[in-house]
Every structure is written in C-alpha cells, then in structure tokens.
Amino acid sequence: MAGGTGDKVDWRLAAPLGLTYLAFFAAPFAILLGISFYADAEQTRLGLDSWAKFYGDAFYLKVIVDTLKLGVFAVTATTLLAYPLALLFRAVGPRAQRVLIFIILMPLLTSVVIRTFAWIVILAREGVVNQTLLALGITAAPLNLLQTELGLVIALTQIEMPLMLLPLLTVMNQMDQNLVDASRALGASKWRTFFRVILPLTLPGWIAGATLVFASATTAFISQSVIGGARLVYLPALIWQQSMVVYNWPFAAVASLTLLFTVLAGIMALGWLGRFARTG
C-alpha cells in the first residue's frame, strides 16, 4: 500500500484512475471516431463522405491553416514576453519574486471567460486602447481591434502566458548561474550569452510551455468566438456549429478529430524542434 519502492507498476493502485480513463476518456474518443464514419447527418449510412467533404473543401482547409497559424502566433507572442519576464524573475530578490509570481498566476486564476471579457472592455471601439489612441491624436477614428486576428492574438497572449511562464520559470530556476557567469567572463556579450547559453539550457521548459500554449490557443473556443466574432472561423467554432446548431454529428466528429490531429501535429513539431536544436 505504501508504494514508491517497487520496480513494477502496482496495477491495483493504478486501476481506479486507469479504468476511469478507459470508460470516460478512451471510450468517448472511440465513439467519436466511429461516428465520423457515418455518411449522413441522420447517421443511417456508413461511408467516408464526411471526411471527403471536409478535406475536399477549400473553406475547411483554410480553417485548419488559420487554426494552426493562431497557435503559432500565440506561441510566438507568449515567447517574446515570457523570456524577458523569466529573466527579470531570476534577476530580482525573493520579495519581488513573490510579487511577480502572484502577477503571473493572477490571470491563470481569473477564469478564461472573465479574461476574454476584460479584453472586450479594452479592445472595443470605445475601449481603453482606442480612447488612448484618440486622446493622443495617433488615430483620427477608432480602430477595429475586436474581430481581428491581431486583437485575438493580444488577448490570447495574456490568457495563455502563465502556461508558457510556469515551465520556463522552473527550468530557469534549475539553470546553473555559473554557466552564465562563465560565458560573460569569457567575453561573450549579454545577447550572445542569451542566445548561446540561456536559450539552449532553457529549451526543454520552452517546449513544455509552447506545447501547452499551442494546445490551449487552438482550442480556446470562448476567446475565439467572443473576440474573433463571426468573421474569424477556427476549428472549435466549426465543431460547435456543426454539433450543436446544425446537428451534423459525423461532420462535427471529423472536425473534432481534425482539431485533435492539428494539436498533435503541433506538439510533434515542437518535440522535433527540441531534438533538432539539441543535436544541431
């Protein structure tokens, strides 16, 4: 019962969670796959029609590409801000670190719906950003930030940033300061030290963070639908519309599995990038 010392998996201990996952996780995905092979919305006829319709239509292919792009943009934006924040976290004292960790965790603890809602207040036509730009005379008319990809990426950057930061902070904490000091002592500039020492050493943390951000941004249904509006269509909106509005379950299942493949492809690409960077 104590566990922790055996060299074999104690299946009696793993069974409750394992069986729960089989019944409520693996089985639903199997059903999802099964339903995708129905040819019609009424689920009377088997066939590959739903798959053919999805992958034969330029509109749906564009939705896949846009979803992938959104994930890549979110990873890029969070990376650009998370690295400086993590470096700052390393540089300051313990008291400032506690404040920073609260700031980092705050968005994580304030519900995706609330965070999305905040961005409506900020990005709307009469929102904070437009008011500021108008007051400073930078723009003559309010900009449309909602319902644009840029607005969505900005919002997702905040929403997903903790997912990037937490693994990054973990590896930064474990990084040996001597290596950084050595690089500096040997005459490398700070930029060079960052790109040649800090970046490679923290890559595993970045990959963990990028994986979570990518997986989360591509499936962020609420943010995508509320900030993106009806003009920007990503896979999650398609899944929702096909399953709960049109009631074409086979087609929704195809879209749903496509989202799954898209995320897995992104994760595998990130893993490959990590291996490539270590050996290359």
Binding site: A2, G3, G4, T5, K8, V9, D10, L13, A14, P16, L17, Y21, F25, P28, F29, I31, L32, L80, L81, Y83, P84, L87, R98, I101, F102, I103, M106, L109, T110, S111, V112, V113, I114, R115, F117, A118, I120, V121, I122, G127, I154, Q158, M161, P162, L166, V171, R184, S189, K190, L212, T218, F221, I222, S225, P236, S243, W249, A253, L259, L260
Partner: protein
Amino acid sequence: MQRSTFSDVTYAWAIGLLAGLGVLILIGPVLIVIATSFTTSQTLRFPPPELSLRWYRDLFDPVRSAQIHSAALNSVWVAGLATIIGAVMSVLAALAITRVARPSARILEASFLSPLILPTLSYGLAALMFFSVIGIRPSLNLLIAGHLVVIAPFIFRTTLASLTQLDPALLEASANLGASRFYGFRHITLPLIAPGIAAGCFLAFISSMDNVPVSLFLSNARTGMLPIRMWGMMESTLDVRVAAIAGVVILATLILMIVMDRLTGLTKRISG
C-alpha cells in the same frame, strides 16, 4: 565586473521593456475588470464615470440573479466532487508508478497527463456523443465524470513530483523498523506529499470552476454552469453583472490562493 558595452545596454533595455509590457498585459485586464465592476453606468466603459455597488447588489439579489446563483452552486458542487474523487484516484495512480523505470509506467504517466494537451473541446464533444450513444441523460453526475477526467492530471502531476522528491530511505527505515507498508504510507509518505496533493487539488478545483470545453457540451438549461452562463451573458447583452461576478470570483480565488500559499507554499511549488 565588466564594463557595459552598447550591446549590453540594448539587451537591458529590450529585456526591461518586454518584461514591463508582459507585466502590463498580465495584470492590466484583471485590474480593468475589477474597476469596471464598480461602475454606475449600464455599459462596460472604462474608466467608469462614477463608482457604485449597484451591479454587486444586482448580482446578490436572490430573485433577479437566481440563474447565476444556481449555476455558481452547480459549478462549486461539480468542481468539489470531481476534485475529491480525482485526488483519491490520482494519488493512488501516482503511488503505483513512482520510481518505476519500466515503459509501462511511462505509458501510464503519459496517458494520465494527456488531457493537459489533447484538445478538451474534442473531448467534450466525444463525451456528449458517448453518453448519448449509451443512453445516459445529461445530469450533474455526467459533468462530474467529464470534469474528473480533465482535472485529475493536475493532482497526478503535483503528487508525482512530490513523490519523486521523497527520500526512499525514509520508507526503508520504517520498513526495517517493522512498520507495515500501509503504516509507512500513512505516517511518512502522506504527510510529506500532502502539500503537493493540496497544490494539485487547488489547481484542479480552479480549472474545473473555469472549465468551458466539457461543460459546453455536457450541461443543459437545468444543469447550468457558471462559465457557460457568463458566456451567454456576454454574447447576448454584455451585462455588467459579468464584471461583478468577475470581482467576486477574483476575490474568492485570491483568498483561496493566499490560504493555500500559507499551507503548502503553493507559489514555490508552482514555480518549481
């Protein structure tokens, strides 16, 4: 120390500016929502023209906000039960594979963590289809099952991390002194990994309260959940009560987080 070159100065500026922008983007929206919740106006304007508690009064009005209240209660109930059941199962599962180097243990670990990266929206739809095919009607129990699957990884991960740091010599010593395995678990392992379990439970509870993808497909009008109701309020009217709900949720989470930090060193545990 070294002299600072031009390149070092650009580095310091670049890092400083981006980190400042990062802090602003992280905290700004949260502060703006809180400020907006105290507005007197019907619209979500920032800064608010005047401050008042009218939207909080509306929110706590048992008649006008009855649906919000029942959705909040449903969310707390589902999150609470899913966390408790998930904790028991995850701790057992973590004990089963800790310090086991075999591939079977790695496969189990990856499977138990998979809901963290597999799209939960795909899972939500899959769960809806599954329950509909086997003929179970929507209920809070279904939601608990769905939430359990997606939040268990949080507890599993922090528990496993705590177990990995546990010194196996402690358990060997207790066994050598004649303690049974269960006695060793209860008196040595459990107290030492308790903070890890608690931190995981905290994250699991919060993420269940916040879960949209699973609740979206498994809840209906009768089993309304808080995030879904808030989404509805945002889509239809941009109801300012959403900001008031945000204020209450942020305050509650902050208190919970400070308590957890005192009890378990949560922030240290999360940042590694």
